[in-house]
Homo-oligomer: 178 residues x 2
Amino acid sequence: MSLRYALLGALADSPRTGYALLKHFEQSLAYAWPASHSQIYPELARLLEAGLIEQTGTGARGSKTYAITEDGLEDVRRWLRGTEPDRRVRSEAALKTFFLWLLEPDEAASQLEHERGYWSGVLGEFRRIEEEPTGDDKKSRAFRIALEGGIRTVEARLEWLDAALAEVRSPEWAARDD
Amino acid sequence: MSLRYALLGALADSPRTGYALLKHFEQSLAYAWPASHSQIYPELARLLEAGLIEQTGTGARGSKTYAITEDGLEDVRRWLRGTEPDRRVRSEAALKTFFLWLLEPDEAASQLEHERGYWSGVLGEFRRIEEEPTGDDKKSRAFRIALEGGIRTVEARLEWLDAALAEVRSPEWAARDD
DNA sequence: GCACACATGTAAGTTGTTACATGATTAC
DNA sequence: GTAATCATGTAACAACTTACATGTGTGC
């Protein structure tokens, strides 16, 4: 149901076309709930069917503009207030960490270095977004709070990767062969 | 394919029964790759079929003990070394943050407080695990590195939640009504 | 004897991914 | 004209969840 509410939340901000929603998912929402066009378009059709959104216009190249309805707004508010979020985390990278001992020390180190490179790129991207001027309305503030969460998470991961790298590079790590 | 390698990795440590693997997933691996018994048992059957694991014994109450084969060990090492991890993050809580502006200030604050309560419990659990004595072999060290990653992530989240709470409780947040 | 944890499995439904498919407008 | 981006959709498959289903040993 999360995709449903991600769409409703985005439309609560302002009416958008399916394509604009797709782009929005590729950009900011990608870090919270990635979704592809093959998921978004059918879900929009279902939301329309359910009366939670309505089509308010048709643009160039067959684009369709959707707006949230009163029912939709109620629904997304109910979701925000009432439902316990699913807090399970799936992370292939974290999984790999458990099995780092299966690799040669230098292989383990290069895995972690690669990981550090990736997340340091993400941090740069987040910092770039942070620099962009925005309003100081509630929407912008909420966005900045979310962004701040991303930045802190990535920073913590980078610090951890440095510590992990120091450990797998230590003589103690290399020495043990069990 | 991650579940497959999670199972192979766990069996690379030592032979285990399906049920023991299930418990292992409920405990430490739950924070990296949650899986239920309805996923684990069929996947074990497939791994057996593929010759990546073998059944080495039968225990009480029909339990089956599996061990990783040479092929399996090769496969999990190839996965560890060669494949780019899927780094996409799905977080309902992060998603909700984007839409915090749809709630009344006190509702937004109580959401964040609730979230802080949850993660502070997880941190306590992680710290408890951290205190447990372990060996200093490679496996234990890799586990501790993974645990350290979890702790740092949760700590960063808690710090962020405090900052976010301060913001939604500020007069500037309450004042704006747009 | 009965509850609980152990132990394994299948089935139906939902969600998400990758691939297939098509057409319109803009920039060069 | 032709490549890129805009714009929407469907279909097959894989992964995951929830519910159904069954039987065994242990502790009280």
